[in-house]
Amino acid sequence: MRDVENRQDQLYRQAIEAYGTALDRLSRAYEADQDFRQDLLQEIHLALWRSMSTFDNRCSVRTWVYRVAHNAATSHALRSKRAKSTTLVSLEEIDDPGDIASWHETHSALQQVQVLDRLFALIHRLNAIDRQIILLYLEGEDAASIGEVTGISPNYVSTKVHRIKAILADRFNNGGNHEQR
């Protein structure tokens, strides 16, 4: 019993050491409100620690951590009355003129904080699946890894990643051009 607890605690600590900052970013991407974000982050830590008692190496620790974290965040969102009242869209629907204008209107240099603000605004509008895909993509995962975490077919992930690149390039390039003027 003590050995199981030690293993669970150790796996949790190792996972947080490796992916703790990614989990913090993930909680920001799921929850815009500061107070609720802290709750969500604690829920993710708790879910991860509890889950480590059943971790059996059938997948990598990284895949396991991302799965548990996204599942905890999805559960949080499904329970949230605020989230239920928000209409979420897919990546294909995000290209409305109003949205593009809001990205183009920055005439000053695109500061990192502005980029991130707008990136979070974009992510907060996305439905669960597309949010998971874009977050994993931003964390540097490739299509195969994203497919493994989400359970979505790799072909579909590739299509989505292509779409994400196009959206991000459009917004980032326009900001970059302004910067060069």
Partner: protein, 204 residues
Amino acid sequence: MNSDNSSRDLRSVWQRQDTSSPALPIDELRMASAKFSRKVFLRNIREYVAAVIVVAGYSYYIAKFHNLTVRIGSVMVIAAALWVTYRIYKKGSAAKMKDEIDGQSCIDFHRSELMRQHDLLATVWSWYLLPFTPGLVVFLIGLTQIALSRPGARQHLGSMAIGYGIVFAACAGVFILLGWLNKRAARKLQEQIGALDALRYPPG
């Protein structure tokens, strides 16, 4: 700047955010875990407490009223409460929140959560409401018989009929409305579940 370069830059900006999330103390996690388990236990108990209240209430009616129809109706309501409790015990409540969040794929987890909500909505009418309907109808008929047996009741027959008619119609209306709303919500959830299924990793 092409899309690959700009995406790479943006990923770099994303990953360089000023974030930190140190491991929580294990004792704190143990306490939070125990609190969570208590919450799950109390939620499960709540469903059985509701049944105990119904059984106690209608047992009181059996003792209080000597009218056979009221007693039969009360027994039927008690039987319905026990039947519903047995179903909850056997199958587990569809309303239960997820006790454990494990490492299943995101789409499987999301699907199971939507399925749980769907099952609750689709079955709440037949599971929770329908079993009580015959007993409540018989019980109300019994109360009507008692009211009619009182001296001078015949003089107010019209107003009594209207009163009981309104009660019956209101109950039927609420049941039908609930059933319709639930079916509609369940259909929407089924569409979401279907959309998730279309994205699944191919088997094998």
